[in-house]
């Protein structure tokens, strides 16, 4: 539970950031990327990753398409839209200001 709590409110930011670096990832790859780049500290739950992906898709931040995998199955891959890039900037600066504020509080006390 602690791991999801850490992600609260920042899942969108992580997904957008990962997609901005590596376009055309499917859901599992996004999850794996979050885990590996955070040094296995952060983990996106499957149950919240997909609703978040769909929500962002409906908001027009990311775009999805079906591709054929080597195994023959289809996979749905996601990439950033221009609106998503803008949103990433917004989310990033928001995160910066929040973490700055939290740091300040930690220092003061």
């Amino acid at each position: 539970m602690a791991k999801t709590d850490a992600l609260q409110g920042s899942l969108d930011l992580l997904v957008l950031k990962i997609l901005s670096r590596r376009p055309r990832l499917h859901g599992y790859a996004i999850m794996a990327a979050i885990a590996s780049t955070s040094g296995e500290v952060l983990r996106a739950e499957e149950g919240s990753l997909y609703p978040a992906l769909y929500r962002m898709e409906e908001a027009g931040w990311i775009r999805a398409e079906w591709i054929k995998k080597d195994s023959g199955r289809r996979a749905r891959v996601y990439q950033l839209t221009s609106a998503g890039k803008k949103q990433l900037g917004v989310e990033e600066s928001r995160w910066q200001s929040i973490s700055l504020a939290i740091n300040r509080v930690l220092r003061e006390v």
Binding site: G27, Y28, E46, G47, E58, G60
Partner: protein
């Protein structure tokens, strides 16, 4: 974009679920390939169904999805009860269709503004006065000199426009023989500019065409006439049209939509007012006067002073008028002068058709609306019964968390589906029936013509109607169903009587509406029958009427020779001449003065007839003799019995004399005939006198006759077979006589009853539908109630209730409702019939048989409708019921 994709996902709900599943599956596979434990992966996902649901609801439009599922559920419900659904759609469709058709006719005839600019500022001038027999009358016609005085008096605030009726007139385009009919209206030159109309071709009439008598021989065609008579040929400009002895040059074609100010008649040719010879006559009132307020004039402050001013001007004209009162008594002159000028809004045009059909169409609209209401009550009952049967389903839905809003939506969806299906049917019905009814309004040779566009007012009305129907149908059952208390319903029903109570109320309502429809239609049908069976005093059988005209008038001897020639033709039994036909809508009266006394207050009507006219018409003589060939007018006269009663009470009039006005030559009465209707079948018998066709002037010289009707009794059953040959025979004589119109006495008689026949036919149709629907509704409600009370009936039978007792408990309350509803319907009928009293002929709403026949029809229907349910109740087998319970 995203809303569209969500709507798309909503519509394609199943496909979306499959895609989500596929993606999740692919995720799990990836995880396993990456080396994770399959069980652990699946556990991490949790319940896949929940995951799918969460994802699904993000990607769809929630309310739309529930709406779609409600619609498809409602559709399945309708399909399951297919027979009742079809009946519901048919009855609602008929109701909606007839209501929309009635609205279209009323809107087109009475409400829709003329396609001119400033129709809201247009008024028509008329005078209210006390007419003959002290009846209030309204005079819409004006003399041109009077019009000109008023036009000059009003010119600061308003423009006055003169427009005559669009009369069906003989016109000739090329040679003398090709005579045809067209609707010709005389208009003042300021009409087109004031109405803001632009020509489609050439130029329109302008104020300069009012210059003076005979100076502007120009004609403007209406677009409609140009289109159907000349195929929109632009070369029509410059052509000549002959009307009477005048020739007009076509100078232009009017705008496309404008067909004149007379709703129901399409004006074909517009001529300048100044070209009509009547325009110089002081004493002839022959055209309408319209008033168009100048733009920006405040009507609240201007209209009343203007009215008083014009009233004073017109009265001064009439007081001055030297030729207006020749031979009138002072009392008549006073009555003539005592009138009030009124402005009536005329933005929707004015016509006799509007006057004749305003109330008829109103009552037909009411009947259509009532039928729709009856159908709505029926369907609403059906849905209540279904809702009752679905109480458990509703309770279940509420228990598992459905909101009440959602339940209301569910049932409203079903009624909206019904209403939409019905409205498709209704639209088709209205598209067919409105022109059909319109085509029945006037005689076939001169049909009423009215633009019946299906534009936004009609569509708006249709949508409003559908909305109303949906609410009427669905709202009550919906609220009832959503008010279900789940605990009670799941336990086996709360108050089993409550839907029945509501349905009983519905029965009373339905019977009331149905009785109202039956009552009104029985009045109309009886009116029509009595009118059609009115004793005529002459025979309409095998009588051909040739309405004949001459250009400059011909002496009676020429007319008599022509009649003689026709008499010799094969297939002709007898020939006579009259000034105009009976029942032909022409009526001319004359003052009657006895023994040099001042004229009586009531006039008498007259007709010039040749000898043997009476025998040709099969009118017997009560006493005296027929005219002889050397009788002339003035000189001899034949009077009818009402004339004799009015002017010679208690005496034999034969041998007495009368004058047509003071100081006129004497007429000696030579015979008496029974009463016959004169110009209008609906009028009571009038005092009528006949004078010889041969008229002489003061010097005993014969007077020329412009027009007359040749009355021919034929051997053949259908007199029209001789029409063509006789018409040719007259033309071959080259004596200036030309047949202008061919008809039969039977057709003239039938034309008198067109409106009554139309209303009676439609009212009878609505009555039959209403009766059928009410019967069906009654049957359904009673059947439902017997089914629901099966247990109670079984128990009653088991404990020894008699058959009569069972019948009583099953039917008593229903018949109480029928009685209540019936009384309410008849009372409503009394109220409604007062509004349409003027349409009745010798029928009163309070006549016993007028009340009895709808009551009997209703009772009979109720008996037939309740019989199956009663039989079902009696056949109830108590042992079977008690065993199953």
């Amino acid at each position: 974009m995203s809303l569209w994709s969500r709507i798309w996902n909503t519509v394609q709900g199943e496909r979306l679920n499959r895609e989500i599943d596929e993606e999740l599956q692919s995720h799990i596979e990836e995880a396993i390939t990456a080396g994770r434990d399959p069980k652990e992966v699946r556990r991490a996902f949790g319940c896949t169904l929940r995951a799918r649901d969460a994802s699904h609801s993000i990607r769809v439009v929630g309310w739309l999805e529930s709406l779609l599922s409600d619609i498809s559920f409602g559709w399945r419900q309708l399909c399951r009860n297919n027979i009742t659904s079809v009946a519901a759609v048919l009855s609602l469709g008929l109701g909606i269709g007839s209501s929309v058709a009635a609205f279209r006719l009323i809107d087109a005839l009475l409400w829709r503004p003329l396609p001119i600019s400033g129709s809201g500022r247009l008024y028509v001038l008329s005078r209210k006065m006390i007419g003959l027999y002290d009846k209030p009358a309204e005079d819409n016609y004006w003399a041109t000199p009077d019009f000109k005085l008023m036009r000059d008096a009003a010119k600061e605030q308003a423009d006055l426009i003169a427009i005559s009726d669009a009369d069906r007139t003989d016109i000739t385009w090329s040679t003398d023989d090709d005579m045809e009919k067209a609707h010709v209206a005389y208009v003042s030159g300021n009409m087109f500019p004031n109405f803001g109309l632009e020509p489609a071709l050439g130029r329109l009439l302008a104020p300069m065409d009012d210059r003076g008598p005979g100076l502007s021989p120009y004609a403007v065609l209406s677009w409609d006439y140009w289109n159907h008579r000349f195929g929109s040929d632009p070369r029509v400009l410059g052509r000549s049209v002959h009307i009477g002895d005048q020739t007009f040059e076509i100078i232009g074609v009017g705008p496309r939509d404008f067909t004149g100010t007379e709703k129901g008649t399409v004006t074909d040719i517009f001529l300048p007012l100044s070209m009509n010879r009547l325009a110089t006559q002081q004493s002839v009132s022959w055209h309408h006067t319209f008033l168009m307020l100048k733009p920006g004039v405040d009507r609240a402050t201007v209209l009343e002073p203007l009215r008083q001013h014009l009233s004073a001007v017109s009265r001064a004209f009439e007081v001055e008028c030297s030729t207006c009162y020749r031979g009138m008594t002072q009392a008549s002159i006073d009555r003539f002068l005592n009138k009030t000028l009124v402005f009536n809004p005329a933005g929707a045009g004015i016509s006799d058709l509007q006057k004749d059909y305003r109330r008829s169409l109103g009552i037909l609209g009411l009947l259509a609306a009532l039928v729709l209401l009856i159908a709505c009550v029926n369907v609403s009952n059906m849905m209540t019964a279904q809702a009752g049967a679905r109480a458990q389903e509703m309770a279940l839905r509420i228990s598992i968390g459905a909101g009440r809003r959602r339940l209301v939506q569910l049932i409203l969806c079903q009624s909206a589906l019904l209403a939409l299906l019905a409205s498709v049917l209704g639209a088709v019905f209205a598209a067919w029936s409105a022109p059909f009814v319109l085509s029945l309004i006037n005689p076939p040779d001169n049909p009423a013509r009215l633009a019946l566009p299906a534009d936004w007012p009609v569509v708006l009305f249709g949508f409003g109607l559908i909305l109303l129907v949906v609410l009427l149908l669905g709202l009550l059952p919906a609220l009832r169903a959503s008010a279900v208390r789940p605990v009670a319903a799941l336990k086996g029903g709360e108050d089993p009587h409550s839907p029945r109570r509501r349905m009983r109320g519905a029965i009373a309502l339905q019977v009331a509406f149905c009785c109202l429809v039956l009552f009104l239609s029985s009045l109309f049908v009886a009116s029509f029958q009595r009118l059609e069976n009115r004793p005529l005093g002459f025979s309409t059988d095998r009588l051909l009427l040739l309405e004949t005209v001459t250009g400059k008038g011909q002496l009676p001897v020429v007319w008599n020779q022509t009649a003689e020639a026709l008499r010799a033709s094969p297939g002709v039994d007898s020939v006579a001449i009259s000034g105009w036909p009976l029942l032909g809508r022409i009526h001319i009266n004359s003052d009657i003065s006895i023994n040099g006394a001042p004229p009586s207050p009531t006039p008498a009507w007259f007709l010039n007839v040749s000898p043997s006219w009476l025998s040709t018409m099969k009118t017997p003589l009560v006493s005296g003799r027929d005219f002889l060939p050397d009788d002339t007018s003035p000189g001899a006269a034949i009077v009818n019995e009402t004339f004799a009663k009015t002017f010679f009470p208690g005496q034999d009039p034969v041998g007495h004399t009368f004058e047509r006005g003071a100081n006129q030559p004497l007429n000696k009465i030579v015979g008496v005939t029974p009463d016959t209707p004169y110009d209008d079948l609906r009028e009571p018998n009038r005092a009528v006198f006949y004078v010889p066709f041969d008229e002489i002037d003061g010097q005993s010289a014969p007077k020329a006759v412009d027009f007359a009707t040749l009355v021919i009794h034929t051997d053949a059953q259908n007199p029209l077979v001789l029409a063509a040959s006789l018409r040719q025979l007259i033309a071959q004589r080259h004596n200036g006589l030309r047949v202008s119109n061919i008809t039969t006495q039977l057709d003239l008689f039938r034309n008198q009853t067109i409106r009554e026949r139309l209303i009676a036919m439609l009212a009878a149709f609505f009555a039959a539908v209403a009766l059928l629907l009410a019967g069906l509704g009654l049957y359904a409600v009673l059947n439902y109630s017997v089914l629901q009370r099966r247990r109670e009936i079984g128990i009653r039978m088991a404990i020894g209730s008699t058959r009569a007792g069972i019948v009583r408990i099953v039917t008593l309350d229903v018949f109480v409702m029928i009685a209540l509803g019936g009384c309410a319907g008849i009372v409503l009928g009394f109220g409604a019939s007062r509004y349409v009293e003027s349409l009745f002929y010798q029928v009163k709403a309070t006549d016993a048989d007028m009340i009895a026949s709808p009551t009997c029809a209703m009772l009979l229907t109720a008996l037939v409708a309740t019989l199956p349910a009663v039989l079902r109740a009696l056949r109830t087998d108590p042992t079977e019921i008690l065993r199953t319970e």
